[in-house]
């Protein structure tokens, strides 16, 4: 039961990071179910990363961005990836994933998002390096 509440809290944080909104209970419950079934195990280093990520949305974004470049198969990303899949396969969030006709100006948003992703990765690399040093 305790685990479930931890997972529900994680789902809330990850959902907010991925889509920028508060996700519904049904998706949080599915995430908790997935975590129970997938039983993702963390190393000491991954646990330290996760504790940092779960504390704030911006740290989650930066660490995720750094790991995407340096350690794409890190287990902490698996948790985020699972929630991403759950949100996509939910009729409540279809519009966040299906293609639509974007205006020409949307390309500027894409450019800004790209720059933000690189900026987040740069900060993230600094964070994960410091965590790595502490864990060694």
């Amino acid at each position: 039961m305790e685990n479930k509440s931890v997972h529900i809290f994680e789902a809330e944080r990850i959902g907010n990071y991925l889509l920028g909104i508060n996700v519904q209970d049904s998706e949080k419950n599915t995430y908790a179910d997935a975590m129970q079934k997938l039983n993702i195990q963390f190393s000491k280093y991954e646990q330290a990363l996760w504790e940092k990520m779960i504390k704030s949305k911006s740290k989650m974004a930066c660490i995720d961005a750094a790991l995407a470049m340096k350690e794409p198969n890190n287990n902490v990303r698996r948790k985020l990836f699972t929630m991403l899949a759950i949100l996509e396969a939910s009729p409540n969030y279809t519009s966040y994933f299906l293609s639509r006709n974007f205006s020409f100006f949307y390309i500027f948003k894409i450019g800004l998002v790209g720059i933000r992703a690189v900026w987040r990765a740069a900060i993230g690399i600094f964070i994960i390096n410091s965590i790595k040093r502490k864990c060694n």
Binding site: Y17, L18, L19, G20, T30, A34, K37, L38, A61, C62, D64, A65, A68, M69, P72, N73, R77, R78, L80, F81, T82, L84, A85, I86, E88, A89, S90, P91, T94, Y96, F97, L98, S99, R100, N101, F102, S103, F104, Y106, I107, K109, I110, V113, G114, R116, A117, R120, A121, G124
Partner: protein, 538 residues
């Protein structure tokens, strides 16, 4: 309990189903022995609706899009079968337990399912050219009518265009081609504008011939463009081998035995004994027949033959098409909405025929991306998931994926080996090695470069070349190469297994060469001929 039949067919995949159908039509008494795994989890819960409607409406879509055990969220993509969607996962179920395969350099996919790997077939139908058939060891004069007979049975749609010499050739009874989706339509229009220049470089692009019906027949609906091709077979517009098996089940001269893993055969004066390990009870059972036709797939046949000849030869050659895929960005489609009605199948194919002789042709099947869901694509980007989602949602419609197959021949560094191992279900294990020579790698890279350059000129900017491990093409052949001298561990051109009187092989074990074009249609045509030869033999 011993059961006796005139003919026994091993396996229910693309070749087994065609052999069984031909024998049943000839009125003889036959049994198919098969493990016969079926999808019991997902078939009934996938709504008969199009992809967009399902995505917007179905509250239970997580069950089949992600899988009840979340197996549809692949993390280790190098694992065999990890690319299958949850409703297709049954195709590889039980294989690790019943028919283990170990290798660092060769990762084949096998199936114990009813309908075999045919359940995941991309449905491309390619009638091979004379030089290709010669190199394989098949006679064109015998294959052409067999192609027609198979096309009649499974239903093929297509059109005579620049690609016809590489796929349809003179195939009869072809149904009208399916409607081309928007993404590939842009590529095709661009090709037609630059055709002359590209043809001079040996590049030809055309519509795929597909085992998909566009006109209703035999209780099968015409293609409905629901874009659920990777998830369900509800309309039966795409041909699957299990449909033939289900159709045959109603015939009095046909019996389907499930849970039967064939271990080996023993010939005697009156015919053949087939030794089976039942997968439900793990007990051995013996079936007998006058003639045995092996079609469990190339690696399955190798296992049965090696055991039946008492492990006298443990190592056999093998061939498998090298395969890679290239995601491309098609700028014309940037930021556009993907149409509701479409299919996920490769409707367009690019051929590289530099010598213009229809031999050693490179092939790239072109697909768009949607129904496999965006999260799998997001995972491949070097960006954080939240930002990658925003970018990939915009780019989604502009992805054109080119799946490149290379033609392939055997060599001493490509083989499989059977080793006895008391810890496995059958007491042995198949291992293998698949290493390309430097020259082969160079030739393939040069072919890929030319295909990428052609894609670029068609407005598809190649982003990255992703190589799958050897075995990833799921095309296997050449373990018992065709040879009319009757030697052990070879197959006569009529399908008879060397060193036997009444055992035939109907799968691709005899093929000495693999064209880049998909071989399923040719496998089926060869199986049709083997069935005819079995009947001729009495």
């Amino acid at each position: 309990m011993q059961l006796s039949y005139d003919y026994i067919v091993v396996g229910s995949g693309a070749t087994g189903a065609i052999v069984a159908n031909s024998l049943v039509e000839a009125g003889v008494n036959i049994a198919v022995l098969d493990v016969g795994v079926e999808d019991e989890l997902y078939k009934e819960i996938i709504p008969n609706k199009d992809f967009i409607s399902i995505r917007k409406e179905d509250e239970n879509q997580q069950d089949y899009f992600l899988g009840k055990q979340f197996e549809g969220i692949p993390w280790e993509t190098s694992k065999v079968g990890s690319q299958l969607t949850p409703p297709r996962n049954f195709l590889t179920q039980l294989t690790e337990k019943l028919i283990p395969f170990e290798s660092d350099s060769f990762k084949p996919m096998e199936s114990m399912a009813k309908g075999g790997l045919g359940g995941g077939w991309g449905l491309g139908c390619y009638e091979f050219s004379k030089p290709e058939l010669d190199a394989i060891g098949l006679k064109e004069s015998e294959m052409l009518p067999a192609y027609d007979a198979v096309a009649n049975h499974i239903g093929v749609s297509g059109i005579k265009d620049d690609a016809a010499p590489y796929c349809l050739r003179d195939l009869k009874n072809v149904q009208p081609v399916s409607e081309l989706e928007q993404n590939l339509s842009g590529v095709f229009t661009s090709y037609n504008k630059q055709k002359k220049n590209l043809n001079n470089k040996g590049i030809f692009v055309g519509r795929s011939a597909l085992a998909v019906i566009t006109k209703e027949r035999d209780n099968r609906s015409a293609v409905q463009y629901k874009d659920m091709d990777f998830w369900s077979d509800t309309d039966k517009s795409s041909y699957r081998s299990w449909m033939t098996i289900d159709q045959l089940k109603g015939k009095s001269n046909f019996v389907y035995h499930k849970n039967c893993l064939v271990l080996k055969f023993k010939e005697h004066d009156l015919g053949v004994d087939v030794i089976v390990k039942r997968t439900d009870t793990s007990e051995e059972q013996i079936f007998s027949c006058k003639k045995l036709i092996l079609s469990p797939g190339v690696l399955g046949t190798a296992r049965i033959v090696i055991r039946s000849f008492d492990y006298k030869k443990e190592q056999l050659p093998v061939i498998c098409n090298p395969y890679c895929y290239i995601p491309c960005l098609q700028w014309r489609m940037l930021g556009k909405e993907i149409e509701q009605k479409k299919t996920s199948l490769g409707q367009l194919v690019m051929y590289l025929d530099e010598k213009n002789d229809n031999f050693d042709v490179g092939m790239a099947a072109l697909f768009s991306y949607r129904s496999l869901l965006l999260f799998k694509l997001i995972k491949e980007t070097p960006l954080n998931y939240a930002d990658a989602r925003i970018i990939m949602q915009y780019l989604q419609s502009s992805f054109t994926i080119a799946g490149i197959h290379h033609p392939e021949k055997g060599s001493a560094s490509k083989f499989i080996r059977m080793e006895q191992n008391a810890n496995t279900y059958t007491g042995d294990i198949l291992t293998g090695q698949y290493i390309l020579s430097e020259q082969e790698i160079k030739t393939n890279e040069s072919r890929e470069k030319k295909i990428k350059s052609a894609l670029n000129s068609l407005g598809c900017k190649p982003l990255k070349t992703i190589y799958t491990p050897h075995g990833g093409s799921i095309h296997y052949a050449g373990t018992l190469p065709f040879n009319d001298n009757g030697e052990n561990f070879s197959i006569h051109s009529n399908g008879k297994l060397g060193g036997t009187k009444n055992v035939f092989v109907a799968d691709g074990s005899g093929f000495k060469y693999l064209p880049a074009k998909g071989l399923t249609f040719t496998l089926m045509a060869n199986a049709y001929n083997v069935a005819k030869n079995v009947l001729k033999n009495g």
